[in-house]
């Protein structure tokens, strides 16, 4: 009986703390539903909730352009990361050679460079290659940042698959590469989904590179776009928060359906 009471108290405590930690989300939703004149008319709940802000954003060419840019960038980064990490991860998992651990060590060590150092060093390279203000530079630097982790994750998945499976296929006359793609890849789908989600998430949320390597308005990303909205003399909070909701929605939806992949990616090593 006493135990049950303690459990209920625990649950109650957790509920309150969870509500507190979700407070910013609540603020986002609440302010996104407010009309311009009534933004500060109430504190927690909007007076006369309206979807006008969302409609304004859907008609705003610049903000929609940012969204389009981010969608294209994130999907491309995810696709490249998946393809390269399958091939390289397979290589690291199946072949034994001298200096293999050193190579893995070095590849992984590159993720430990300060992003600001990468930005500074990469900037000169980009200017020299005439890639400044070109989305291609963002694809390159985002993919390079996420790849060591993706390779590591794919290697981990491949390690769990017994070699005998593809050896059987190779005895039947399958080449190494088709054994990899036709036999091993189909059964490592969870790993591929996890790598895809992580790369997508990284590119979607990235801010530093997006604010350094592109300059013109038409090449803005969502992250730089929303921060730009704060630069106006009068900040339209309703609009800003509606945009915050719109650009967070894809991630939240992915999370609801694919929660276990987010967590498995985290526990596989952790990316911020």
């Amino acid at each position: 009986m006493k135990r049950k009471k303690a459990d209920r108290a625990l649950l109650f405590l957790l509920l309150i703390l969870t509500a507190l930690s979700s407070f910013p989300l609540f603020i986002m939703i609440s302010f996104s539903l407010r009309d311009r004149e009534l933004v500060f008319a109430s504190l927690l709940f909007p007076i006369k909730p309206t979807l006008n802000n969302y409609a304004t954003i859907l008609r705003d060419q610049i903000l929609m352009r940012c969204l389009m840019n981010s969608i294209v960038l994130s999907i491309l980064v995810a696709m490249i990361a998946i393809l390269v990490s399958i091939i390289t991860g397979y290589g690291f998992s199946r072949f034994q050679f001298k200096f293999k651990s050193l190579l893995l060590y070095l590849t992984f060590a590159t993720t430990m460079f300060p992003p600001i150092l990468v930005a500074v060093g990469f900037f000169k390279v980009i200017v020299r290659l005439h890639l400044y203000d070109n989305l291609f530079s963002l694809i390159l630097v985002n993919t390079a940042s996420i790849l060591p982790f993706s390779i590591w994750m794919m290697k981990g998945y491949f390690d769990k698959i017994p070699k005998s499976i593809e050896e059987a296929a190779m005895i039947d006359g399958c080449s190494r590469i088709s054994a990899c793609f036709q036999v091993v890849v189909p059964i490592s789908l969870p790993g591929i989904v996890a790598v895809g989600i992580w790369s997508f998430l990284f590119a979607w949320c990235e801010y530093l590179y997006a604010s350094t390597f592109v300059g013109s308005v038409s090449k803005r990303m969502i992250t730089t776009g929303i921060v730009e909205l704060l630069g106006h003399f009068i900040i339209q909070w309703g609009l800003v928060m509606a945009y915050a909701i719109i650009i967070s929605a894809p991630i939240l939806i992915l999370f609801v359906f694919l929660q276990q992949y987010f967590v498995s990616g985290l526990t596989a090593g952790g990316v911020k």
């Binding site: 990469f122 790849l147 390779i151």
Partner: protein, 299 residues
């Protein structure tokens, strides 16, 4: 003869699989790194390149703003990493205590939310909560009759803005620690607790000699990882305060960014500071990579 040619094919196949990905990563990270190294020790003019040695590094050591930013970075890192860890640990233990159920899964999902938002989105929202003109937090305090507690959170000329930034970071990244620690708790065999119960151990004793032993390894790795991440963290400070007011929240990342891309356009000085930043963290980096790849080295 046949064996050696087979071996050759084997190595070529390995090369074919590994080389493209690894060289892609190396080209795009080691090359800029080398570039930054070179920039920090050479003075480059339009047609010549003169070796100036460690002059840029010396300059950093005489630059008051560099030392101030370094101190701010340390302060920010210590506070936000402790917040991440203790909030994360608290939630992990509470959720573990609650046991497995649908409610606990839903709660875990909601607690994970802050981590999912882009830093930009998170900071913009906190900008509204802490804004100098209309701060949701101040308004909340006022309506509760606690107007003594309201402050100009991000524009005060003291350590307050930097502390607030650490708290905003604390509230965003604790789910990472929570998930990692929660996963570590799952592998504790329940028999251990039962045995301790029979021996009459107190809750504190049980925590110290059972739970903590299972949390220790994962604690090392997440603290290392998080220290590195927080030390490098740029978005939050840049979006919320740009290092202001009066450099009160300037951290190394934002100072380097300003030096290179805004104030003087000095890539040389900027890259030398970025390299110092990395050297300071090298111990954490080595420990992290070592633990991370440990499995690999044991095989």
């Amino acid at each position: 003869m046949k064996v050696s040619s087979q071996k050759k094919t084997y190595y070529w196949t390995a090369f074919f699989f590994i080389a493209p990905g690894v060289s892609f990563v190396f080209f795009l990270t080691l090359y800029p790194f080398g570039q930054a190294m070179l920039m920090s020790i050479f003075k480059v003019t339009s047609d010549s390149r003169t070796f100036i040695g460690l002059a840029n590094y010396q300059r950093a050591f005489q630059d008051n703003l560099f030392w101030l930013s370094l101190w701010h970075t340390l302060y920010f890192t210590v506070i936000s990493v402790s917040l991440h860890y203790f909030i994360g640990l608290g939630f992990a233990l509470l959720l573990y205590r609650l046991g497995k159920s649908i409610v606990s899964n839903i709660l875990r999902g909601f607690l994970f939310l802050p981590w999912l938002f882009a830093s930009a989105v998170w900071c913009v929202t906190w900008q509204l909560i802490l804004h100098p003109h209309f701060s949701v937090l101040n308004a909340l305090f006022n309506s509760l009759g606690l107007s003594r507690l309201s402050h100009s959170w991000l524009s005060d000329l003291s350590l307050l803005p930097l502390t607030i930034l650490s708290v905003v970071s604390g509230l965003k990244f604790f789910p990472f620690h929570m998930v990692m620690l929660f996963a570590a708790l799952q592998v504790i065999p329940l028999e251990l607790f039962e045995a301790a119960e029979i021996d009459g151990a107190s809750s504190l004793q049980k925590f110290r000699s059972i739970t903590w032993q299972f949390l220790k390894p994962v604690t090392t790795i997440i603290l290392c990882y998080d220290t590195i991440g927080s030390f490098y963290y740029f978005d939050l400070v840049w979006i919320l305060t740009r290092g202001g007011p009066m450099n009160e929240t300037e951290v190394l990342s934002t100072y380097i960014f300003k030096t290179v891309f805004q104030l003087e356009g000095s890539f040389e000085y900027g890259s030398s500071m970025a390299i110092i930043l990395m050297i300071i963290l090298s111990i954490f980096i080595m420990v992290y990579i070592k633990i991370f790849l440990r499995g690999e080295f044991e095989i």
